[in-house]
Amino acid sequence: MNRIRRLVLGASLALAAGLAGQPAVAQQTKLTFYFPVAVGGPITKLIDTMAADFGKANPTIKVEPVYTGSYQDTIAKTLTALKSNESPHFAILLSTDMYTLIDEEAIVPVDEMLKTADDRKWLDGFYKAFMENSQTGGKTWGVPFQRSTIVLYYNKDLFREAGLDPETPPKNWAEQLAFAQKLTKRDAAGNTTQWGIQIPSSGFPYWLFQGLTTQNDVRLMNDAGNRTFYDDPKVVEALQYWVDLSTKHKVHPPGIVEWGTTPRDFFERKVAMMWTTTGNLTNVRDNAKFPFGVAMLPAGKQFGSPTGGGNFYIFKKTTAAERDAVMKFIRFATEPERAAQWGIDTGYVAVRPDAFETTRMKEYVAKFPPAAVARDQLKFAWAELSTHENQRVTKALNDGLQAAIVGTKPAKAAMEEAQREAARILRPFQR
């Protein structure tokens, strides 16, 4: 029995090797892949499954996903690994890390790996808004994967109580303020028991602020990523609108509003409208005990939101064969069907229009219309703030915004100071 089994096993192995027509197992390409987790849900499991499915379809390539913490941890680990020559083959990092990675000479442009017309057509198939943060100097450095935008969530019950139509969210800045005024409630002692609107300002206020600046038709940086426009009058105007919501109109909580507890404030009915990422869609759907609506951010001079989230990057310390294998995986992960499923599972916006044409996505959107809001808003979305020395230049803006919000500096002075600081940091990159 034993001998027969061994014989059968040996024969089938020989057959398999013969069929493969090449020294199969020995030639397997191993790829290490760093990925962060930034939203709730079983992301790690989804990524592992994706890698396993890819392995089944491509037995010569083995992708090993390595969970590396938050986005911040992941870039820190990647750059540290790079400095000790232990680079992963590819990673998901913030789209805004592009200039940093270029400056560190860490990544290779994706264009080099595009060989056929079909490859190029695939790259052109992503939403333009997402490509803005992935291209500079005529090259494409990142491939959009888990991307998001900001949307407005509102409590339909509270709208009804305030005499507003729950099916009509505010469409512009004036309406947003007027609605917020109706939605703010105070008790006899003058303490506010319910706020009209909340725009988080802890951690990365620049991102939410970019919603306001985009709506006010002003860019915060140039395409080359070496100049910022923080002191533009339209930027100051956008900041003044935000500051006025709390200090002048008193419809927005005073001081810095915590990003992390904002959804909870919404669930507790402490706030009637909130701005937050589409990545919170699943969270809100599961935890809001009242009917809620999702809408595009209200328009100032125009509709607008920044994009956010992570791209795939391919590292330089790889062989040509490895790069091709990475490319195969990236194409696999961004196929319409898989991009659609990823969007449904996580709440991220599917990165390609053709993903929204798939049956499974159409069915999902029909059942859950808020899923389409982010997609519709993409027409008006601009690139997230990203420059050389990104963290520092962004920090200059964050500090200025927080100073204006807490009232230590007037909006204009705060933005002028932020601009001076950013200009000083970026000077070496303007040569």
């Binding site: 400056d103 303490n191 506010t192 802890s202 509003v257 992390g260 963290q391 807490v406």
Partner: protein
Amino acid sequence: MSRAKATIYGWLLLLPAFVLLLAFTHWPAVATLHASLYSTPKRNRPSVFVGLENFEGMVDDPVFWQAMYNNLLYALGTIPASVALALLMALWVNEKLAGQAWLRLAYFTPTVLPMIAVANIWLFFYTPDYGLIDQIVRAFGFGATNWLGNPDTVLYCMMVMTVWKEAGFFMIFYLAALQQMSPNLAEAAAIEGCGRWTFFRRVTLPLLMPTTLFVLVNAVIGAFRLVDHIVALTGGGPNNASHLLLSYIFDVAFRYWDTAYGAALTVVLLAILGGTALFQFLVLEKRIHYR
């Protein structure tokens, strides 16, 4: 055993600790000092010797001064409070009480919890309006306060949390010292007709001084070393109002990747810590009575 043999034996016993200390404490410190005198390597611009330029940059860096000021205030606010509270708690749980073990455990719990977990709990304590603190305050007729979102309150919020976290840890040392104190002393004092306060001031406190020195050294190090909660709760905001020296160093070195400047800042931190430790051991120790 001959003298030479004993010496070798002694050194061999010391060797493992010595190697570890050298590799993970002294060598990095020296390497940091070295790195602080060079510029950060950038593309096309390799690292060059710049002398004290990194330190000169600090003079014009408002965030550095803010972090220094914050850290000083933070140390002044947390060290005396946590040491005093630790002593009080130790005296309390050293008495014979019902549920003494549970009380000790309760006081020690904050120390056992990881700082990041603690920070997430406190985030909801400090949440405006429906957070625990605001709910209590509301019972007395006050409105909501944005504790962490206001530059005037954020640092004090961090201090309260730190005192809560550290006091239990220091209590253990005081408790151990109190348990070792001979009951004869209390009996003798009672015969002499000594009051409780006088006994505490004249007998207990002096006998606890060696423990106090140890606790103080730890508290000072803690005030400069513990920044997990800053990173988790505020990231140094709003507008740097809660940045401490170490959280700023982390930002400079691992967010901005300005490693040379980060090294220079680390040298300053090392100097501060080394200086206070020396002061405590050389000056304060002379005033302490050991049995």
